[in-house]
Amino acid sequence: MSDPVRLEALTVRYGRRTACESVTLAVPPGAVYALLGRNGAGKSSLVRCLLGQQRASSGRALLFGGDAWKTRRRAMDRTGVVPEEPDAPPAMTARQLSEFCARVYPRWDERAVAERLSRFAVPETTPFGRLSKGQKGEVMLALALGHSPELLVLDDPTLGLDVVARRALCEEIVGELADRGTTVFLTTHDLAAFEGIATRVGILKEGRLALDEDLEALRARFRRIRYTNRLTETRTAYGTELDEFHAMRVQVRGWGIDAVVSNFDEAAFERLRAVDGVENVEASAMPLEEIFLAVAGEEKREGAAA
């Protein structure tokens, strides 16, 4: 069985500007893949290519093993999409949109859509253009799930939503996952909202895929390490003791050294404890948001000794 989503050296350019370059990743069936990246990192361009809505400059985007550009229509039969900007015709009500989809999809569960909209408390007879931002997102999610897709693609679905709408949306996705094991590919800024759902994470940095890993493994190798080193003369510099941890971000504080490392393991940590002069060593797990900041943000190393 082919992966629902596969990108092979995907590159998107707009004139001289490169939105994403040579991105390669795969999402196996049942996985929840969260693609993270700062604004302008190329997430939306990548999603449009994945959905066959835009042609890649080079490389390929595959949906269910087929070229997304060429086999878009068939792939959309098995895919639900929640776009970054709700794009349904503004003059149509949620019910009319559901009726339209019923004519387009071979299997469409109007009752399930109506129930979902009712659960979201979205008025069925109000034109889409007059709904709130949150309600629009909920309608788009209801429409995306109406044909029980094998793959759900969400492009920053919580953008601009309030806390309540965000939670409702996440709960719906969790419910969908629990019911059918739908594969999910999402891009988001909202790391906290999807941290509990995602099984794999990718981080786009300046158009390149800086990281692509299972979330658990990611969490296991990223740590925040804090310690003091009494042998360091001025306490404003550090030596080579962090080298084997692949420190991504090191800050020298008044009290000591604060580092984010991407290659943590217990044995190395024990060796660090044993380094002469190193004291008060502690390592703490990092939330996804901090990992993202460490990977996607500026690399920062202060006070490295020559």
Binding site: R55, M76, V81, P89, Q96, V104
Partner: protein, 632 residues
């Protein structure tokens, strides 16, 4: 198809208020006529006209608006992604939207017209559709126009919304295509190639429609949610199709203009008075074509001229001249061809004429040109371009004919336009040395005017009067009558020819019989040669005293040709289906018939598509030029 209908239905449903607006607009004709206080048939006519205008405005306005917004703006703001995120084909999305726009525009126009139609009972377009070809088809034309406007508006919408530098390239290509099309059409002027020009215009119009439709579809199908990509695809496909079409049109135009004498069908001939050149006029590759063709060598040149103004060939057969036709109107340049050159090429002279001339003859040596344009008679030197003499001719000048007596003196015969009343034939001479126009004489004319044939020196004229068919021999200078050559039997055809020795031959033929009468220089009867045929015309002299005569009594396709020995009185058949080319020799000037024994006297047109030459010794025919069979 379900996807197409879903999109189509959705788009119509979203914009259904347009039909309400159309229903309100349908009241406009009634409100206007009520306000103006007109009643009865006048009110019905007025309502019909207003309803038609409002309906067309509605349809075209909707086409513009929907073309710019329905897909172009949806691509630009990526709302079309909603459709591309569904299992809908690009065809469903693009054609569903286009069909909805088409139905909305035409449906609203129909709603506007409906009440007026129901009340008035007649099609409101009657006052506007004046072209008989559109009487029944105008609704189809409107439907097509709505689609065309929609497609053009979509293309403009995509191009402008993309804000791409490609727009500048579009503008350049648009200008380039316009110039290229103008260039192609310029090579096919209406006076020369009306049918090919129409073919090109129709072909390019179809190409534009196809290009707009195809590129519009491609902009949606290949551009999808990327407006710049959409514009790129639209431009490349549109200009690709237009480019190929313009190239095809240019090739077609070049093919039409590249016709050779062998491509002629249904052609006529005017042989040179001397030498082996002949002017051919007919249809070649769909266009009117004129060629100067050397029957001896097969060399040819193609003058670009209108068929009634050239080319003319000098009496010595060494130079041809014609007025180069132009669609832009005058002044018209005069071109010449040196027929005695090794490699003759058309050459522009410094002479140009303000409009097409009524008289256009060369001096015997071809060095000077006489023309009559807008009432002014002129003699121009073709070498220097100088006007040597000119004079205004006053009075009624319906038909001006003339010829050079020598390089300095031009004899002209001016008769009024046949009007059913008698008139006067004025005879004058323009002298290039004294630069004066001298009136020499005049003669009363019958109501139908006269057809003039002169001897080479211009001393004598044979005038065949219309409608009496009376033939008289006149003094060429004064118009004084010398002798009556034939009269009576108004149904008879009389055809004169001056023979090489100065005698006059006159064919007389009717449905009953035919005879060739020979007169001496003074017009006294010498001999009669009866012919067992009807409707005889005279060709050239194959040799002094041996005259070609042809009979078309069974229709032009069954011509029978004879050699008549006017002295011996014998008649020898040459063949059937042969038309002597020398028949038309006098069209250049009244004295410009082919010289006895010249090549022109031996040339015949066979079946309207072959030029053949008769060997007088053996009586054999040689094909000089094989044209194409005429189209049924």
């Amino acid at each position: 198809m379900s996807g197409f209908f879903a999109v189509f239905r959705r788009e119509v449903r979203i914009r259904r208020l347009v039909f309400v607006a159309a229903a309100l607009a349908a009241l406009i004709p009634f409100i206007v006529t009520l306000a103006r206080g007109v009643h009865g048939d006048v009110a019905a006519d007025e309502r019909a006209s207003i309803a038609f205008i409002v309906a067309i405005a509605f349809a075209f306005g909707m086409a513009v608006g929907l073309g710019a917004s329905m897909a172009a703006s949806a691509i630009a703001n990526r709302q079309i992604a909603f459709d591309f995120a569904r299992p809908l084909s690009s065809l469903d999305i693009a054609v569903g939207r286009a069909a909805a726009a088409w139905v909305l525009a035409l449906g609203s126009a129909a709603i506007v017209m409906l009440p007026t139609l129901v009340v008035g009972g007649r099609l409101p377009s009657a006052d506007f559709v004046t072209d008989p070809r559109l009487e029944r088809t105008w609704p189809l034309v409107v439907c097509g126009a709505v689609f065309l406007i929609f497609a053009a508006s979509h293309a403009l919408g995509v191009a402008t919304r993309s804000r791409s530098p490609l727009l500048a390239l579009d503008a350049v290509l648009c200008g380039g295509a316009g110039l290229a099309i103008a260039g192609v059409l310029g090579r096919l002027p209406a006076f020369l190639a009306a049918t090919p020009r129409w073919n090109v215009e129709a072909g390019l119009a179809i190409a534009v429609v196809v290009a707009l439709a195809a590129s519009g579809y491609a902009s949606v199908a290949r551009g999808r949610t990327d407006i710049r990509a959409s514009h790129h695809v639209l431009s490349s496909s549109f200009w690709g199709i237009i480019g190929v079409s313009v190239a095809a049109a240019a090739s077609y135009a070049a093919w039409v203009r590249g016709a050779r004498p062998a491509d002629l069908r249904d052609f006529g001939t005017m042989p040179a008075p001397r030498g082996s050149w002949v002017a051919l006029q007919g249809k070649a590759r769909g266009a009117t074509a004129t060629f100067l063709f050397d029957t001896a060598t097969g060399r040819a040149a193609r003058p670009i001229t209108i068929d009634w103004r050239g080319p003319t060939i000098s009496l010595d057969g060494r130079r041809a001249a014609w007025v180069r036709a132009s669609e832009r109107g005058g002044p018209f340049d005069v071109f010449t061809l040196a027929l005695d050159a090794t490699d003759p090429k058309p050459a522009a002279t410094k002479v140009s004429l303000p409009s097409y001339p009524d008289l256009f003859v060369l001096s015997p040596d071809g060095g000077r040109l006489a023309s009559f344009v807008d009432g002014v008679l002129s003699i121009d030197d073709l070498g220097s371009g100088r006007t040597l003499a000119s004079a205004r001719v006053v009075g009624d000048r319906g038909l001006v004919r003339g010829f050079f007596l020598d390089p300095d003196r031009l004899r002209v015969y001016v008769q009024p336009e046949p009007s059913g009343r008698t008139g006067v034939l004025e005879i004058s001479e323009l002298d290039a040395r004294t630069k004066t126009l001298t009136r020499l004489g005049s003669r009363e004319l019958p109501a139908g005017g006269v057809h003039l044939t002169a001897d080479r020196a211009g001393e004598r004229l044979v005038a065949v009067e219309w409608p009496t068919r009376r033939a008289v021999l006149l003094d060429g200078r004064t118009g004084a009558e010398i002798a009556t050559l034939g009269k009576g039997d108004v149904g008879a055809s009389r055809w004169p020819r001056f023979l090489a020795d100065g005698r006059v031959a006159l064919s007389e033929s009717s449905d009953a019989a035919a005879v060739i009468r020979v007169f001496d220089r003074g017009g006294r009867p010498e001999r009669e040669v009866p012919l067992h045929s009807r409707r005889i015309v005279l060709g050239g002299e194959l040799a002094p005293g041996r005259l070609i005569a042809a009979s078309g009594d069974e229709g032009p396709e069954r011509w029978r040709t004879f050699v008549v020995d006017v002295d011996g009185g014998t008649v020898r058949p040459v063949g059937d289906g042969l038309v002597p080319t020398a028949l038309l020799g006098a069209s250049y000037a009244p004295n410009a018939f082919p010289e006895a024994g010249s090549e022109a006297t031996r040339l015949f047109l066979r079946e309207g598509r072959e030029l053949v030459s008769l060997d007088p010794g053996t009586g054999r025919l040689r094909v000089v030029l094989r044209g194409r069979a005429s189209k049924p």
